[in-house]
Assembly symmetry: C2
């Protein structure tokens, strides 16, 4: 493999965003996965809308809004205290089990996270999972442009200081893979749930079932 | 009211996108509304993603892709013939019942549609519903920038040749209202289903329950 940089999306790719469902479940029995699903889909919808309409809002703020709406939509009173408790869970998401083997799969390589999350969300998440030493960290919060806007990937490339085509980017999120591929990265779609690739007029370089599968 | 232009979103606002559910139901019993829901949500997701990653794809093409994916996700073989038949339904969507009263509510005013749809989709839709004489037509396909990107609304304003604040824009879609408001139009969110306005850091000028309610 001739890639010089291995770059990973965080939410959904390295960390299971739906691992919050258990914590939610404790507060609202039988509503854990429902609320978690709406929380994530609203979060994604909101950063896309905000990126399109202009006026940057940080990811933690958008994530809080999405949670507020996910609770309301599921007939749960969105108390400030509940929201703060559940937001805290975003610093305790579980990594997928293969994550700790990444350094075995890509030895002698610098592994980088490139996420829409702010560093103030990502740093405690890595720390709480004893993963801080594994990854360098790039956040879309630095240029204030969210993935999948092309300028976000341009920022990451500039920071990595290598050619577009020397980057292999991993994500579970099709919108993220579409943006990175369109920009010119090589891409690996991590398709853990054996889903169909959506018709977006663009295809990943590789499709892998999890991070243990090495794209080639 | 001192507005000089009354501008309407088409899909979801003047026309019920879920009126296709019946036609789908005929082909796939018990799956009409499920498929219709995924068709619409994928369509919206896809034009946002394409707008963000760059490389314009026309709305009819995206709508076809979204239908393909909606069928697959609902375990229906996406035959080319089925897709063509159902795509044709997009030219036969039902207008909401208040639409024919709009000229009564806003007499002596030019009413304009501003839609992400191509004119080749919108013209037959208006014609099939005997509504062609009601509306002038602006399409995001002309500047090749989708709403809710600010440049889309800028294009509409330029074509209307009035001040931003002289435009009253109606939409049922919160992402559309958010974009138009952020750009500087006055906006009326048509909230037929009595939903909660999403936390997007921005609010409509008016919230109305349907097009019979006149914002003031």
């Amino acid at each position: 493999m001739n890639y010089k940089a291995f770059v990973f999306d965080a939410y959904g790719t390295l960390f299971d965003v739906h691992s919050v469902a258990q914590a939610i479940q404790k507060h609202f029995p039988n509503k854990g996965s429902q609320i978690s699903e709406v929380w994530r889909s609203s979060q994604v919808h909101y950063f896309m809308v905000r990126q399109l309409i202009g006026g940057y809002v940080p990811f933690d703020e958008l994530t809080r809004w999405a949670l507020y709406d996910a609770l309301s939509k599921n007939d749960v009173e969105p108390h400030e205290e509940t929201i703060s408790t559940l937001m805290k869970q975003y610093e305790h998401l579980s990594p997928f089990e293969e994550v700790r083997d990444l350094q075995k799969h890509y030895p002698h390589h610098n592994l980088t996270i490139f996420s829409n999350g702010t560093k103030s969300m990502l740093e405690p998440l890595l720390e709480n999972n004893q993963l801080s030493h594994f990854f360098s960290l790039l956040s879309a919060d630095e240029p204030k442009v969210y993935k999948p806007h092309r300028e976000a990937y341009a920022y990451a490339q500039k920071q990595l200081n290598v050619g577009k085509e020397e980057i292999l980017f991993f994500s579970s999120n099709p919108w993220d893979i579409a943006g990175a591929t369109q920009f010119g990265f090589h891409t690996a779609w991590v398709n853990r749930q054996n889903q169909k690739w959506p018709e977006l007029g663009i295809k990943p370089s590789y499709i892998i079932k999890d991070l243990n599968e090495i794209p080639e």
